[in-house]
């Protein structure tokens, strides 16, 4: 690694890439159009309120099945998808509400799927874990940990073969990097220089397992070295750092230089899924991370850097809450699917 390639703000870094400097968020925030910042705030708020509503609906007994909440992790999907062109693609994982919202999903249709309704994105066949929004370039999620990463490689391959200018963001968790699928897929993507940015949403735990007990490395970006791929770990709760770093990785991907592994370090506030009693971590640790809330932090930044006024910020927040409340009401009223002829849906004509 040459000195020139060391990126200020990186927690860990491998591979020889000439990273452009990243700016402190308090500086960078002034360089982005206010609409962009407002978009980021809106998507983060929508995600938070969506998931809080999901919890509420669950508690009210309206949800059959499980769900995986990303409360506290909103900066990674929003900061990275903010760096995409609308035609670009994403593929994510079981904890994917934020990615889906950031990529432009219709919230009502999404809520409908969450409730298993016929007008939902998957006509109620998929549910929380499988919400996809293909027409917006969101190829959805798999319930198999790591199972989406090889598919990402295939999507990247198709884009490359078609000489498309589009690129793909592929998301997965820390725990999934212990699956063979991760290894095979990143290796192939690197060998073929595919237009992909691999983004590890490290929320510190794979279900109940502290990621440091599941691997002998401190930073998951270290694993990029096995594939001769650049890797970088950053503060995944800082939406503008995520944006800057992923933008550069996207630039590499789009210019044919191949994939990058970006680790966004964050934390999941809620249990893994609804059956989680949180016995594997301390309340202190949870509270410590709640104090680092990516949304509160971003709002603070917007305010102190004077790019938005408090009332503007709160208006976005309130509107997001309203959108979610309305979506839930609408989704509850949606019709249920009916079981006739399901056999006809299995195969494409």
């Amino acid at each position: 690694m040459t000195d020139s390639s060391v990126l200020v703000g990186a927690l860990n870094q491998v591979g020889e890439v000439d990273w452009n400097p990243i700016l402190d968020s308090s500086v960078f925030v002034k360089q982005l159009p206010v609409e962009k910042l407002a978009w980021m705030l809106e998507k983060m708020c929508l995600t938070r309120y969506f998931e809080e509503k999901a919890e509420e609906l669950y508690t009210r007994g309206l949800v059959h099945g499980t769900m995986h909440l990303s409360i506290g992790m909103e900066a990674s999907p929003v900061g990275s998808i903010a760096a995409l062109e609308p035609e670009d693609f994403i593929i994510h994982h079981h904890r994917g509400h934020g990615h889906t919202i950031a990529k432009g999903a219709n919230i009502v249709t999404m809520m409908g799927e969450f409730l298993g309704k016929e007008p939902g994105y998957c006509r109620g066949r998929g549910g929380s874990m499988h919400i996809a929004d293909v027409s917006d370039g969101n190829m959805g999620a798999t319930g198999i940990v790591g199972g989406g990463i090889p598919i990402a490689t295939g999507i990247g391959l198709a884009l490359q073969m078609r000489k498309s200018p589009q690129i793909l963001l592929s998301y997965f968790g820390d725990g999934s990097t212990n699956e063979g699928a991760f290894h095979e897929a990143l290796n192939m993507a690197s060998v073929w220089d595919l237009p992909i940015v691999f983004i590890c949403d490290n929320n510190k735990y794979g279900m109940s397992m502290d990621f440091r007990h599941s691997m002998n490395v401190e930073y998951i970006s270290t694993r990029a070295a096995s594939y001769g791929m650049p890797g970088i770990s950053i503060d995944g709760n800082d939406v503008l750092t995520v944006y800057q770093v992923v933008s550069q990785a996207i630039g590499r991907a789009r210019s044919g230089k191949g994939p990058t592994l970006v680790e966004n370090v964050s934390y999941r506030w809620r249990g893994h899924s609804k059956s989680d009693r949180n016995l594997y971590r301390t309340q202190d640790e949870i509270e410590d991370w709640m104090n680092r809330c990516p949304i509160k932090r971003f709002k603070q930044l917007l305010l102190t850097s004077q790019v938005m006024r408090e009332d503007e910020i709160e208006a976005i927040d309130r509107a997001a809450k309203q959108t979610i409340d309305d979506a839930a009401e609408a989704a509850i009223l949606m019709p249920e699917p009916t079981p006739e002829n399901m056999e006809d849906e299995v195969y494409a004509p």
Binding site: V63, H64, G65, T66, G116, K117, C122, G124, R125, G126, G127, M129, H130, T142, G143, I144, V145, G146, G147, G175, S176, N178, E179, G180, A181, G206, M207, S208, M209, H213, S214, M215, S275, D276, R277, L279, Y280, E336, P337, T338, P339, M342, E343, E345, V346
Partner: protein, 333 residues
Amino acid sequence: MSENTKREITYLEAVREAMVQEMRRNPEVFLIGEDIGVYGGAFGVSKGMLEEFGPERVRETPISEEGIAGAAVGAALMGMRPIMEIMFMDFATLAMDQLVNQAAKMRFMLGGAVSVPMVCRAPAGSGTGAAAQHSQCLEAWFVHTPGIKVVSPSNAYDAKGLLISSIRDNNPVFFIEHKLLYRTKASVPEEVYAIPFGKAKVVREGSDLTLLSYSIMVPRALEAAAKLAEEGIQVEVVDLCSLKPLDTETIVQSVSKTGRVLIVHEAPVTGGFGGELAAVIAESEAFDYLDAPIRRLAGRNIPIPYNRTLERASVPQVEDIEKAARALAREGR
């Protein structure tokens, strides 16, 4: 089942008790899998076991199903008796090489020089709203794999006794638990007991038709049979318990007696274990006693959907069994 045992425990507790008792008895037995420690496993089956046996013998792993299975195979080759837990049976897809190419074949391929005494426990089935990738019943794959034994208990009593036999068996055993059975209760003795493989149970006697089943479909079949009895239709319900080895004798006897057979399972009908059962019957002397075609009632040929109504409609429910059995009872030849 011993008459004087009154203690009722759940299927889940029975599975745990079998593991705990064998682990106390035999230091070579250990549990390996994901989130089986302080979390107690995704369904809570191993709750408390870490505390008793420590992290060496309640061995939590990274999320690496192929690695887990390989670790079990390797340890078994050395004479340990690993119980590996696959969190959902669907994830066995990630461990098929180790289970099918390694565990199952190694003894034969090495001319008998080794044995592979391991258990692969996996919760299967739909009904929890977990959708297509967390709801499968894949027993047919393992039945079709020479070298693996397959058991699939329908109640807490059998779960304990069959799991103890699985742990003591010197071969790879696939032990299938059904998620919806975990909370069901039965009278289960506290003593250690082993139920031999290859013995089906006639869990209800009847003269009009034989209903062959296993796992979750047994309680459903019994419920349906009770209702049909009110209409005067006497259904004989056979719980297969172990799918491989299979108790062909009990099957043939029952079918020869009733002359009609309905096979019920949750997995999709096409290519399911029901086909094997149908073939076994159609090849046997019971064929001569059949008064109606062999009927299968099984899961629809679709992935399991998320929505509760669709999910329910994807696999046989009590009313479906009732209907199918009633129709078959009336069917002449």
